[in-house]
Symmetry: C2
Subunit: 193 residues, 2 copies
């Protein structure tokens, strides 16, 4: 089974890839709207963890629509969800047997409800896998501690290849501070051997 | 992380254990109400797959309550759910850091909604893991084909250590045929190496 994993370089998407590795040939999919080179942080983390990686070009119009949504809402959830669904739809059309992501049980956003997963599966003849969907934060932290070398810190200091990195550049500093207040970010530096 | 996995000897609970194996010390928990020796089929399958196994004694009163519920309903879902929740509560009180089960994204029963998982976690200071909760049937079959030797067949011919095996013995043949019509059952015979 060839699986493409939507990949940010953070702990969750790396752990999702690790859980699938014994059962599948895994490729990490590092998405970019072409606005910045932040996807290279994801490529770098994925390679440090020993996975095959691939750049995926998303539609910049979706980034601009998400930006407008972020500004109108004043909070990130709808804009981030829009981008994640676009990324899923984009890679679902690739040649993989399955696509996966690092969405967790306790995530507020992005989420992939069962109805969305089944809709993607039916329309694209591909499986959707969310290996962390039944696992809470504490256990994910323990699993990551066991298997990964992770750097954590403030979102302003840890480089990331997630959607937020590019979307921030479309916002004024004041909008960034309102919509994406500083939060903890993780970056995978390699595997524990 | 020490994880106890509720285990029937079938494909799903074995796959749940396999996904956790790289991150945790796994013990398969083979439950019995003490009504039959069917839990030995689960012990046997778990040992063939190379895991540590342990017998868990459930409360026979719960089996009798579930039986009454099955007969009153004429269908299995509420009775099976009652038993699964009792099994989860039982093993949550053990010494594990986490308890797990093989519930899948597309399962109708048993299910562990996020509210139940978090309730167990809060009351017992243990994590609940459902590694297959974000994975559909087709992908689970592919992952199992990749990693396990599985015998499949009619539920009347494949020995099983699941809850149904013991509950059937509390029902008349007519009730069994109404509540548990023949369905496909899987039994793990070992790992692919």
């Amino acid at each position: 089974m060839d699986v493409g994993v939507l990949y940010s370089g953070g702990k969750d998407s790396t752990l999702a890839a690790l859980t699938l590795e014994p059962f599948a040939s895994v490729t990490l999919l590092c998405c970019t709207f072409g606005i910045t080179d932040d996807y290279e942080h994801a490529l770098d983390a994925g390679e440090r963890a020993g996975f095959r990686t691939r750049r995926v070009d998303l539609d910049p119009e979706v980034a601009h629509a998400a930006r407008d949504q972020l500004v109108a809402d004043g909070f990130p959830s709808n804009g981030i969800q829009t981008v994640h669904e676009h990324a899923l739809e984009t890679v679902a059309a690739f040649e993989f047997d399955a696509i996966a992501d690092g969405t967790r049980r306790d995530d507020r956003v992005p989420t992939v409800p069962r109805s969305l997963a089944q809709s993607i599966e039916d329309r694209h003849d591909v499986a959707h896998l969310a290996p962390l969907a039944g696992i809470g934060r504490r256990a994910i932290d323990a699993m990551a501690d066991q298997s990964l070398l992770v750097e954590t810190g403030s979102s302003s200091s840890i480089p990331s290849g997630d959607y937020e990195a590019e979307l921030r550049t479309l916002l004024t500093e004041r909008e960034v501070n309102e919509i994406f207040p500083p939060h903890t970010q993780s970056r995978v530096m390699g595997r524990r051997r």
